[in-house]
Symmetry: C2
Subunit: 146 residues, 2 copies
C-alpha cells in the first residue's frame, strides 16, 4: 500500500473532479442557451475579439486545433459562427460571430454568472481564496504548458 498512489493524496484527481463538476454546474444554464461549455469558451474568446483564425482560438483555449476545428464546425452548423478563408493567408479559416452569436452575449451575461453564483453560494471560499486559487492554477498551467 503506497501512500503516493492513494486517491486522497492526489491533487490531480481533485483537479479532474472539480473541473468536471464545474462543467456539470454550467450545463443546465448553457443548455437553455443552446450551447455546451467548450462552445461557451469559444464564444467568450470571440466576444472579446471577433474574426480570429482557428489557431488563435485554439491557443487562447490551450486546446489543439484538432479539437477546435470540429467544435467550430458544430458551432457553424448551429448558426453561432461562420468560417471564411483568410484573404492574406489562404490556409487560415477566419472565425466570426453571426448575429445569433453576438446576441448570445447579453443572454449569457444575464444568466450565467448569476446561475453559477447560485450553485456555488454554499461554498465557503471567499473572494481572496478564489483569487489565490486562480494564481495557483495559473502557475500549474504555466509550468505544464510548454
Amino acid at each position: 500500500m503506497h501512500a503516493e498512489l492513494q486517491l486522497d493524496n492526489q491533487i490531480c484527481f481533485r483537479l479532474y473532479t472539480a473541473a468536471r463538476l464545474i462543467t456539470q454546474a454550467y450545463t443546465p444554464i448553457l443548455t437553455t442557451l443552446g450551447i455546451t461549455y467548450p462552445q461557451y469558451l469559444v464564444l467568450m474568446v470571440l466576444w472579446e475579439k471577433d474574426n480570429q483564425p482557428v489557431n488563435d482560438i485554439a491557443r487562447r483555449l490551450v486546446l489543439e486545433t484538432n479539437t477546435v476545428t470540429p467544435l467550430l464546425q458544430r458551432m457553424e452548423k448551429l448558426g453561432f459562427v461562420v468560417r471564411k478563408k483568410g484573404e492574406q493567408d489562404k490556409r487560415q479559416q477566419i472565425v466570426s460571430l453571426t448575429e445569433k452569436g453576438k446576441q448570445l452575449e447579453e443572454e449569457a451575461y444575464a444568466q450565467v454568472p448569476t446561475g453559477m453564483n447560485n450553485q456555488l453560494s454554499a461554498c465557503p471560499l471567499k473572494l481572496d481564496d478564489y483569487q489565490r486559487l486562480a494564481q495557483e492554477l495559473d502557475s500549474i498551467i504555466d509550468t505544464l504548458k510548454k
Copy 2:
C-alpha cells in the same frame, strides 16, 4: 464587453485547463504502463480495496456508471481486471484485479510519482500551497457534489 464573461476572470476555465494539462502530463508515463489516466484512477481505487462493485468504484471517482462500465470493459479486455456477477446481489458486477493489474502497482509506484514531480519541478508552489489547494478544491467539490 462584460468583465464577468472574460476568460481571464474565469476560475472555471483555469480548472478545466489545469485538469487537462495535468492529464496530459500523466499520459507519457501511463502510456509506458499501457493505461490511460481514468484507467489509472480505477486501478488506484482497486489497489486500495479489491473486489468492488461498479457502483462503489463510480461513487469513489465521482463518475456515472455509464462512464465507468465501458471503462471497466476496456480494462477487462486489456487484462487488468475481471468482472464477476455478485453472489449475494446478482445485479452487481464485482470488479477484481488480475495478477497483471496487481503487478502494475509496483511499476506505477516506481514511475508515476517521480515522473510527475519531474514535470512539476519548475512549479513555484510549495507543499503548503498544494495542501491548501487540495482543501480548496475539496470545498468546491463538496459544494457541487449533490
